[in-house]
Amino acid sequence: MQVFSSSYTNDRWEPPLPTIDSDAILGFVFADPAYFDDPTPFETLTTTYSTIKLIGCSGAGEIFKDQVQEESVVVALVTFDNARFAVIHEQLESPEDSYHVGSSIASQLLADDLQAVWIASDGLGVNGTALAAGFNEKLPPSVSLSGGLAGDGDRFDRSWVVIDDKPRTSFVSAVGLYGDSLQVTCGSEGGWQPFGPVREVTKSDNNILYEIDGKPALELYKRYLGERAEGLPATALLFPLQISDDERSLVRTILAVDEEQQSMTFAGDIPQGAQVQLMRSTLDTLIKGAEDAATNWNSQTATDALCLAVSCVGRRLVLGQDCDEEVEATYASLGDNSHQIGFYSYGELAPTGFQPCDLHNQTMTLTLLTER
């Protein structure tokens, strides 16, 4: 496996795009949301490499090596020695389609030697919980399943996915990776701690939260944010919710607020009757989380390796300029012949522990690809 990574700023790729002698090039690409109106960098890729397949999306910051960038496009061009790949995409008519789209793409990708699936999904018009469930329904547990939901900076307005060489909203794209030579490892950690009283969700509808302990949820957030409530919905990311049931607990983060309804839309389901608790973090705990996501993998790889880093927009908001530190931490865990690119997302897809792939928020989620 060979990897070449490059960053596009000020109308040029740096380092410049090389000549690649392969008719099967897979391109992971992440971009500033503004490139929706300017698909030039994608088109330069498809003109340079006629057979390239692109998968990627917009974010709230691009990760390139050990830095976080803005107003850029990052790309990792991958060619395999033995492995094969296929990219499938489908349109999402509405968030209710999420489950169906997930299971449909998964069935199209399914084959005996399927090793891993990496998903790039629209970040706003999707129910990430249902999407993951759709994929899980069709894929055997042996297939590594991870990915992320596209972002739109801190605006929560329009996120998009690269389809062929065009930015498109309301799409889900996924790449299937095939062959025994592949080695795929996932890690996902947060670094958030619940605090304050345990509360009960008293009114909700799928991923829309209305009331906690009989009071409007928005009221609670505004009270805690104080003067920073002006920055809603982005500032609500400072206090993600931990949802617990008998089996496990998940972290959920906000996507939108509705002042009229006094409601908040989350990236995943908030079941009525669930026990929830506000969460907070500090720079130290988040960096520790990112480091933990990168543990348990062998940095010495036989061939080039690619680390796809998907970190939550909420972390970026808390870390500010120090968000470089978390990508530095993950980058430092990689070997010499490894590349790291990624993006700040509106949701991360990854398995945790013995649980199958699910939607996460506020995590650093890493997927390391290499060949034997």
Partner: protein, 606 residues
């Protein structure tokens, strides 16, 4: 130098390339902006952290206060419920700490104490428990026992309410054990006033004594009155006798005879009343003397025979084999009962016959003094008595109905007296009756063997030999096993078999015992009740039939109360030879047994 700077500042320098190449205004401005943004970020982070800490602390404090208030309210509500229960009790409840401080007194306790005790010592001084034997107990010792975990229940005690007011109470002392601990955290004393209860018991016993005295007085009055009436009545009858012995005209003789017989009727009535009142007052003393049961039966028969013959009724006396010729009992009282029953039989029988049957019955378990029962059966062929009326026969002054009273006269005391006498003689009266076919009144009385018991046995043997010869029936020497659980039925079937001449009769109380007995000893026939505990007749028969040896072929006759169609088939199917429906009559018993023996003889001669 830049190595020692803060990592954020290092990054800001690197990102703005401030120290690379030449320093431009543009680079410097970008650097300043980054620094400013950094401060702003830090400020915001601090603000958010501080605010969230304050708010969550506040929320947690509120939550804590809520919790405290709610749990206090819950505890208070539970306590007030418990208090209400305590206050509603009529029993005094008092808890005391191990040190002796009084922790709680409910209002009943306060009321019962009169003046509330100040300390346990005070309470103990005023509380004097008494043992079942009436001994004063040390309350302090009891308290220590309870503290060690003993529950001391229902002690009688005296409670000194004030210097001159004390009440009787019933008290219990228990350790105060809290959940999850086996160490007493104090004592619980509960007690209630027994004054009222004791007073009630006293009143009751006074009332009972008064009632007894009244009954005694009534009895005495009746006895006295009867005696006082009898004396002049005897005078009247005696004078009428003398008058009748004198020369009278025919008419005068007739009047005097009527007067005498009326007087005699009156005397009988008075004698009955006297007897009854004596019995009721418990004043009848039995006189035990040597007597001959058969002689008594014959006496009664011969006295009453003329009256019976007037109605065309023969009076027969039959004797069961083995009847004792002599025993010790109150012959006069037995004769009295017999008179009454035979008299009744004659009175209520229009045609047919009267028979008196006498038998000795030995109890299944022999009594220590060798006592046994004499059994008398008086059978008539009268109208019979409906089953539901039988119990009322023994009610004093009751007769079956007003019309019979008119027809037959009498005081209605006869059976009551007879029944009471039989009971006093350790027996029971039984009545079997069938409307239209007649009645059998029977009674047993416990009698003592006389001193010549050995001689008696020999004479019994002789008598049985004689009877056997007379009956010319070899079957009488056969051994019979009767399996029957009902005691009355045991007596009836035993009496019937003896009357038929059989004397070797063994009773088994249930099917299991019957099977065991049949295997122990060789019987000639088994009479088997069908419904029995342990093992019913059908199962017992199957067990016997399937056993090894001679016993398997023993003739078995079913005795069954289920006189239903198909019963006979069921009995035969179980392996029984024949079948008698209850109630068993002498005739059916005789015929069935004869039939069974004939079949057995036929089978054995084949």
């Amino acid at each position: 130098m830049s190595d020692k700077l803060h990592s954020t500042l290092q990054r800001q320098l690197r990102r703005t390339a401030l120290l690379d190449d030449e320093l431009t205004q543009e680079k410097f401005d970008a650097f300043l902006q980054r620094i400013s943004a950094s401060y702003k970020e830090a400020e915001e982070t601090r603000y958010t952290l501080q605010r969230s800490m304050e708010l969550s602390s506040e929320e947690m404090r509120d939550l804590y206060n809520d919790l405290k208030q709610t749990s206090a309210k819950l505890v208070e509500a539970e306590q007030s419920k418990l208090h209400a229960v305590m206050e509603s009790l009529d029993h005094g409840v008092c808890t005391v700490s191990p040190k002796g401080e009084i922790l709680f007194l409910n209002s009943a306790a306060k009321r019962l104490f009169g003046t509330s005790p100040t300390h346990y010592q005070d309470m103990l001084r005023r509380f004097v428990p008494v043992s079942a034997q009436g001994k004063k107990l040390d309350p302090l010792a009891l308290a220590k026992k309870a503290l060690r975990g003993e529950h001391l229940l229902d002690y009688s005690a005296t409670l000194q309410r004030s210097s001159n007011d004390r009440i009787k109470v019933l008290a219990s002392l228990s350790p105060l054990l809290c959940k999850g601990s086996d160490r007493a955290e104090g004592l619980v004393l509960t007690f209630h006033d027994r004054t009222q209860h004791n007073q009630m018991m006293r009143n009751l016993s006074v009332a009972l004594e008064a009632a007894n005295q009244a009954a005694q007085a009534k009895g005495n009055f009746l006895a006295t009155m009867s005696h006082e009436i009898r004396t002049p009545l005897n005078g009247v009858i005696g004078m009428l006798d003398l008058l009748l012995a004198s020369s009278l005209t025919q008419e005068q003789n007739k009047f005097a005879s009527i007067a005498k017989s009326s007087g005699e009727s009156l005397l009988r009535i008075i004698n009955d009343i006297l007897d009854y009142s004596k019995l009721e007052a418990g004043k009848v003393q039995l006189e035990t003397a040597e007597m001959d049961p058969l002689a008594i039966a014959n006496d009664v028969a011969s006295v009453l025979r003329p009256k019976a013959q007037a109605s065309g009724l023969p009076v027969d006396v039959t004797v069961a084999p083995g009847l004792a010729s002599s025993c010790k009992a109150d012959a006069g009282r037995i004769r009295q009962v017999l008179f009454n029953l035979v008299g009744n039989a004659i009175k209520f029988t229009d045609q047919g016959s009267i028979s008196i049957h006498v038998a000795s019955l030995y109890p299944v378990t022999r009594s220590r003094n060798g006592s046994f029962f004499l059994r008398f059966e008086i059978c008539d062929t009268g109208a019979g008595i409906p089953t539901e009326k039988i119990p009322s026969l023994f009610t004093p002054f009751m007769q079956l109905d007003a019309s019979t009273t008119r027809t037959h006269g009498g005081t209605g005391l006869g059976l009551s007296i007879s029944g009471a006498l039989v009971r006093q003689m350790g027996g029971e009266m039984e009545i079997l009756s069938e409307v239209g076919h007649g009645s059998t009144f029977s009674f047993s009385v416990e009698v003592q063997p006389n001193d010549l018991v050995v001689q008696e046995r020999r004479r019994q043997g002789e008598r049985r030999e004689k009877l056997l010869e007379e009956s010319n029936d070899e079957n009488f020497s056969l051994a019979l096993l009767v399996a029957e659980d009902n005691h009355t039925n045991q007596i009836v079937i035993d009496a019937m078999l003896r009357r038929l001449g059989y004397s070797d009769i063994t009773i088994a109380e249930d099917g299991k015992k019957a099977v065991a007995l049949a295997s122990e000893r060789q019987f000639d026939v088994i009479l088997m009740d069908c419904m029995m505990p342990e093992l019913d007749g059908f199962e017992a028969t199957k067990t016997i039939r399937s056993s090894a040896g001679q016993v398997a072929s023993i003739p078995i006759v079913a005795l069954t109360a289920n006189a239903m169609e198909g019963d006979r088939e069921k009995c035969l199917a179980a392996g029984m030879n024949d079948y008698i429906a209850k109630p068993v009559s002498l005739d059916s018993l005789r015929q069935t047994l004869q039939r069974v023996f004939q079949q057995t003889i036929l089978a054995s001669t084949k």
